[in-house]
């Protein structure tokens, strides 16, 4: 049964290569996107850290997004 699944009556090489190319591309794009997201989260967090205490308070108070980015970044640490 496994041999039939792999060979697919001679079409296995075409079918499996199509599925493998698709899955490999999807995984590669997912990992690249995740890496870029984490990089920007990290850079954003370090930019916040560089701010003076007053500015930091203002940013965290006025921005809806900044606290969420920081909490998301802290979760990954």
């Amino acid at each position: 049964m496994i041999k039939d699944l792999i060979l697919m009556n001679g079409y296995g090489v075409y079918v499996w290569s199509s599925f493998i190319i698709t899955l490999f591309t999807c995984v590669a794009v997912y990992l690249k996107t995740l890496k870029t997201l984490k990089k920007y989260e990290k850079e954003f967090a370090s930019e916040i850290e560089k701010l003076s205490v007053e500015k930091k308070k203002i940013v965290l108070k006025n921005s809806k997004i900044a606290p969420q980015v920081l909490s998301s970044y802290n979760k990954t640490l």
Binding site: Y11, Y14, V15, S17, S18, I21, T22, T25, F44
Partner: protein, 235 residues
């Protein structure tokens, strides 16, 4: 009117949606792959090579739908200047390019056992390659121009101009005598494909749409953070 799409409103949902999709994705992927590779029947004429359809057709649908959506949002953005629409189009474009390329490559692989060649100067294949070229141009504009407004304007023109290619792709198999078969699945009218093949096809389509949503949300989140980071530097 478009406040629901505003970054601060969307951002709180992005994290939840990413978590939700991640939690159900692998189970759905396994079910869809089981149907596509094992449970669905072989075609009476094409044999098991028909299984390539389960990645080729959804990839082509996504490639076409993404560009249509980009063109629509670009047109609205061009007229009404809604900035976060350009963020959405910028986040969708790489996904559309990826699936257009997958459709071309898997179609080429399918062509070898079916037509006896990997490539033919066929109207459908050429129009799909032109679509990939428009995606490439759209992405390049955003990479090349540092001024966001200029990049948005040029990319909008590319998307609107490229939308002319969408009906050409759709009707190329009817307008010209091509190697590519006419559409088996029709929105209006009855489909010429059996339900035992339709189910895995729609399952794979659903899984790939979920994947697109996941990548889009991650890219959109990255874009928002990038903008917020720029604003921080201005303080």
């Amino acid at each position: 009117m478009f406040n629901i799409f505003h970054n601060s409103n969307l951002f709180k949902w992005i994290e939840k949606l990413i978590y939700f999709i991640n939690s159900i994705f692998f189970i759905l992927l396994l079910v869809a792959l089981s149907f596509a590779l094992i449970l669905s029947p072989a075609d009476y004429l094409q044999g098991d090579s028909v299984r390539i359809m389960y990645v080729h057709v959804p990839a082509a649908w996504i490639g076409l739908a993404s560009f249509s959506f980009i063109a629509l949002l670009s047109l609205i953005n061009f007229i009404f200047k809604i900035k976060y629409f350009s963020l959405i189009t910028k986040s969708i474009a790489p996904i559309g390019l990826m699936f257009t390329c997958i459709a071309i490559i898997t179609g080429s692989i399918w062509g070898q056992p079916t037509w006896g060649t990997f490539w033919a100067w066929d109207a459908r294949i050429i129009s799909m390659s032109i679509l990939a070229f428009f995606y490439f141009l759209f992405i390049c504009v955003h990479k090349l121009f540092s001024d966001q407004e200029i990049a948005d304007r040029i990319s909008s023109i590319i998307a609107i101009f490229g939308a002319i290619n969408i009906p050409i792709i759709k009707y190329s198999v009817n307008w010209w005598n091509t190697l590519h078969q006419p559409a088996s699945i029709k929105i209006l009218g009855s489909s010429t494909i059996h339900s035992s093949m339709l189910l895995p096809l729609f399952l794979m389509f659903f899984v790939l749409i979920l994947y697109c949503a996941l990548i889009f949300l991650m890219k959109y989140k990255t874009e928002i953070i990038r903008i917020k980071k720029k604003n921080l530097k201005r303080l």
